[in-house]
Amino acid sequence: MFGSTLLLALREIRRHILRSILTTLGIIIGVAAVVTMVTLGNGVTASVQEEISSLGASNFIIFPVRTTRGTIRPFDEADVRAVEQQIAGVDLAAGSVGAPTTAFYNGQDWDTRVEGGTNDLLEAQSITIAEGRPFSADEEQAGKNVCLLGLKVRDAIFPSATSPIGANMRLGDIPCQVIGVMEERGQGGGGADDDDVVFMPLKTVQRRFRGNDNLDYFVVKYDAAYAAAAIQDSLVDLLRERRLLQGDEPNDFNVIDTAQINQALGAATGALTAMVAVIASISLLVGGIGIMNIMLVSVTERTREIGIRLAIGALAREVRLQFLTEAVVLCALGGLVGIALGFGASIGLAALIDVPFVFDPMINIVSFLFAAGMGIVFGYYPASRASKLDPIDALRHE
């Protein structure tokens, strides 16, 4: 019985194929929009999270800012050590300093950036070594001329078949030996490419590229079990004290909590998702009303048929089931088409806006079920109307 009802529904839909397509357009567009937006949203979230994890999961980033007097007072290694040793909950603190440079090897050159840091900085920023080894303690302390290559630099100046480990290259006019290659990191914060960088020990960069002991910024990795706000407070207090800031003087440095960035981005993504949900709901509602309208037309058109069915002994609920099935099948097919369209659109758009395509089976299943549910909601009234027809009147209907 159900099989034949389903078959009948499919046949009715095929009989009015253009009408069926136009009717389900609202559902198709609604579902495609939801699937596309949620999939792209997942992609954006994934790429943002990747970016954030490149900053480190629960980190503070501290950098000096220009004061009202127009000066910048940089931090140095002593500040970093003080933070690491005096504040409870701080796992490690590591400074960083950078400079633009050009990498040369075997006649190839590549404009890039050199960044000075310790193994701790690599750890805090979740940078891993793909090939080779990290700095040794001796290399860090002595400020040796060794370097870790970002993937982009490695690809730019080294032939792809050979390992660059052990090679002697040049950064500007400073020679250095390659000891490792870093794992791919992708787009960094502020739009910089995190793979277009060469890492050297902090002291090497300070001494050879910058000529002072200043830091651009430093990273504080804290224990997630501690309250971030409390750590941040002690951090600010300590730094103010060290920088001899008076009670009413504003901070001449900034503290960024990556966890907060994470939350803020999550909230933004959430708001976007909510907006999409509202738009999609409106589209689906309009689609549903279209379904209801066409089902009412269908019931009127097929009044005689309903009369025949009732006369030969169909129960009211069987007639209702027939029309309800038709509405649900119509909506479900619309849902499937919408999912397919959404799938294609999200692959295309993901490539276009350069975010990963993250397939989420849940949203596809939920959209499909929702579309089918629309069939029940908006098909019920027409179906119920069909089932309540008087067989005598229905048979007389022209």
Binding site: R304, L310, A311, I312, G313, L315, E318, I392, L395
Partner: protein, 240 residues
């Protein structure tokens, strides 16, 4: 069940509308129909014959009186119970054929079996048997638009027969047919009746009524006369 008449109408009344606009279509019908009967119901327009037919077909309920079908008081049944009664015991043939368009003859005949929950194979077998009874097996895969009026009515009769009902109700079955096709249909109904089906037919043509065993004449919502053994035209082959 034997000895009890198949259909019993006692003081059946039917009123349409309310108050001043009320119209009493049936004013107290008493009629008993036994198994194996072939009854022609006649009468001018507005005499109540169609209303009676609708009540007999369990499509409508009387306003007053008692309608017993196989001993069951139909006026007490609800809509779905009457549907089940139709499904199980009644077959309908209409003046306008009422076949489903763009659906093959075979599928049209299978339709009542769908509501009995029979398997596809069972449905096919029964439908082909019914089509065979009306001589239309070669036309099984044709849609109504591809069939003549007489053929369409025979498909409709096959659809009414496919459930092997107790009663075949035919409402002006020859109304849309020329006289030659009409005679074919009447002979078919006669043959089916001789095979055991009770046939109730509404007609306004004396010639068609003469194929029946009993003629009931209506006038102004009442039974005017009942002519038993009215048959003047014997079935082909002279059965019965």
């Amino acid at each position: 069940m034997t000895g009890e008449p198949l259909i019993q109408l006692e003081g059946i009344t039917k009123t349409f509308g309310n108050g001043a606009a009320a119209f009493q279509a049936l004013k107290g019908i008493d009629l008993t129909i036994d198994r194996g009967e072939f009854v022609a119901i006649m009468g001018p327009s507005g005499s109540g014959k169609s209303t009676t037919m609708n009540i007999l077909g369990c499509l409508d309920v009387p306003t007053g009186g008692v309608f017993r079908f196989r001993g069951v008081e139909v006026q007490k049944l609800d809509r779905d119970q009457r549907s089940l009664l139709r499904r199980r015991y009644l077959g309908f043939v209409f003046q306008g054929f009422n076949l489903l368009a763009r659906t093959t003859a075979l599928e049209n005949v299978e339709l009542p079996l769908l509501y009995r929950g029979e398997s596809k194979a069972q449905r096919r077998e029964s439908a082909l048997r019914a089509l065979d009874q009306v001589g239309l097996v070669p036309w099984a895969s044709h849609s109504p638009a591809e069939l003549s009026g007489g053929q369409q009515q025979r498909v409709a009769i096959a659809r009414a027969l496919v459930t092997q009902p107790d009663v075949l109700l035919a409402d002006e079955p020859t109304g849309n047919l020329d006289s030659e096709r009409s005679v074919e249909i009447m002979l078919l109904l006669q043959r089916l009746n001789s095979e055991g089906i009770t046939v109730l037919m509404v007609t306004h043509e004396e010639e068609m009524a003469s194929y029946a065993k009993t003629i009931v004449r209506f006038r102004d919502g009442l039974v005017e006369t009942i002519e038993r053994d009215a048959r003047v035209l014997a079935p082909e082959g002279g059965a019965v």
